[in-house]
């Protein structure tokens, strides 16, 4: 009941929905940078939504399964295969014992999330199985996966095994990949010309009007030193009216902070818990999946919306997810 990492690729780590409750001790949320994608992939393979999966950055992963599993993935436009069969995003696929899954580099986007039926059996550390790469704890010994790692998998629960089997039966006769799938805007999140919607930050008024205009009209280029902590952007310098020192306070994934260089940083899941740079804006939660796909050299634009609209969009997505859950449970009972 394990899988062997034959090639770990650029950066692959074990992530779940993140670590909540320890920010006051400086512990980041972490978790899958697109937690929605991981939830959907988990649902597709019959897992609880909060099971850890693999976050694969820029591909290069080869993984061999010791026993029969169902897998599903969501994220950027990756080329994922088992032998010669291509595995599209958002479809459940059954993998036989001994088979290898290969994740090649993406045509578009940066990251993808792979869920494995049964889930990954690493210990819970501070309430989560996510890897805290900076804190070096959680996941696989607190580090990214390496070539040769053997990741322990849980025994597949009977109910989910049954569901998987039934789903398998629908497809096994003709193909290993299910013909049905999750909504494409959840499973394929990398965009050609991404636009991130934002609400104003508490330091919005500290910036001059031309900076406000630049943030809403100009494109910004994603810098190569971006990582799980944040997407660093280059473009029009965002300038403040006056340079007063601010007292450090809480920041969150999605916060767009502006250091003295004037180059904005969109914070992502591994961001520090507190920060002293002014916060010009915040990317809304439903657009964090798009932010998680930003790759060096991409360009990105921003568009302002209201807080009420941000909450309405989140509610809509949750309603659709609930419909998707119901659909899945009907399918597995059929």
């Amino acid at each position: 009941m394990s899988a062997t990492i034959l090639r770990a690729g650029f950066l692959t780590s074990i992530q779940d929905l993140g670590r909540t409750g320890f920010r006051e001790f400086g512990v980041s949320l972490g978790g899958a940078l697109d937690s929605h994608a991981l939830r959907v992939a988990n649902l597709l393979v019959g897992n609880d939504e909060s099971q850890p999966g693999l976050e694969i950055t820029l591909g290069g992963l080869r993984i061999r399964f010791d026993d029969e599993r169902t897998v599903a993935w969501c994220g950027g436009e990756f080329d994922v295969r088992v032998r010669s069969t291509s595995l599209p995003a958002g479809h459940a696929t059954s993998i036989s014992a001994g088979e290898e899954l290969i994740v090649n580099p993406p045509k578009l986007g940066c990251r993808s999330w792979l869920a494995i039926s049964g889930g990954i059996a690493v210990p819970i550390v501070l309430g989560s199985r996510s890897t805290d790469l900076r804190g070096t704890f959680g996941g696989m010994k607190g580090r990214a996966l390496r070539d040769g790692d053997v990741i322990p998998l849980n025994k597949i629960r009977r109910s989910s095994a049954l569901a998987t089997l039934r789903r398998g039966r629908q497809t096994a006769a003709t193909e290993k990949v299910s013909s049905w799938s999750a909504p494409v805007n959840w499973t394929t999140t990398a965009k050609e010309n991404p636009v991130l919607r934002f609400i104003r930050g508490s330091d919005w008024d500290r910036f001059n009007p031309s900076s406000h205009l630049a943030l809403t009209n100009d494109s910004f280029a994603v810098s190569p030193d971006s990582d799980r902590m944040g997407a660093r952007l280059e473009g029009t310098e965002l300038k403040r009216n006056e340079n007063v020192d601010l007292v450090s306070e809480a920041v969150a994934p999605g916060t767009i902070q502006v250091p003295p260089s004037g180059k904005p940083i969109v914070l992502l899941g591994d961001c520090q818990t507190i920060g002293g740079y002014p916060k010009i804006a915040h990317v809304i939660t439903v657009d964090l999946p798009v932010a998680a796909q930003l790759r060096a050299g991409d360009t990105v634009r921003f568009q302002e919306i209201s807080l009420a609209d941000a909450h309405r969009l989140l509610y809509e997505r949750e309603r659709e997810l609930e419909r998707f859950r119901i659909g899945l449970s009907l399918r597995s009972r059929a």
Partner: protein, 234 residues
Amino acid sequence: MQITPLGDSALIVRVCESSAEPDEQSLRIVLEVVHKIKSAPIPGILELTPAYTTIGIFFDPLRVEAAAPESIFDSLAGQIRKAVSHAKKSAARTASRVVEIPVCYDPEFALDLDEVAQLTGLSAKEIVDLHRSATYRVNCVGFTPGFPFLSGLSAKLVVPRRSTPRKEIPIGSVAIAGKQTGVYPVKSPGGWNIIGRSPLRFFDAAKNPPALLRAGDCVRFRSITRAKFAALQK
């Protein structure tokens, strides 16, 4: 008290102006607000991040009690205001913990002591004496897991951050920068001036709570020998 959104899933409660100098009084109010919110469970609130003059409150918008998605923020802000004004005043006035931290100030560990001596015009002994004779207050824990930001540093020890931050700072390094002192609990880069090292573990993910210190704690540093450092590290 001002409440502003920090994106759509968090908000910030400010007890004074965001550019104001943090002091004992504001920290005490922050801790009181934290205590009141924690003891008046409000649906949807996930966790709090106190820091200097603010409390970051993280919440799940889908679980906040509100008539409609449009009123989530106002409803939550209202519940927070009510909880803060409602609770008994002296609820959080429990005496703060005093934590004594052994520090070895030997040159082996005090990588920047010479530079601090040059900048301040003080001798190494004077620097160490000033550093270990003060009582400090934890204003917040952050930057890295378990890093405590301590106020109360002698005005004579105020020096700027190093112009080039170190790529990796040894675990347990005790450092100063500006008006603050702190301890690096995990391997990390950093720009503060290192004047000693503590053998204690300031962050341990296997423990709950994982950090040795939390906001509001009082801290004193005690000078120890190199031999004592080795003994305590075991």
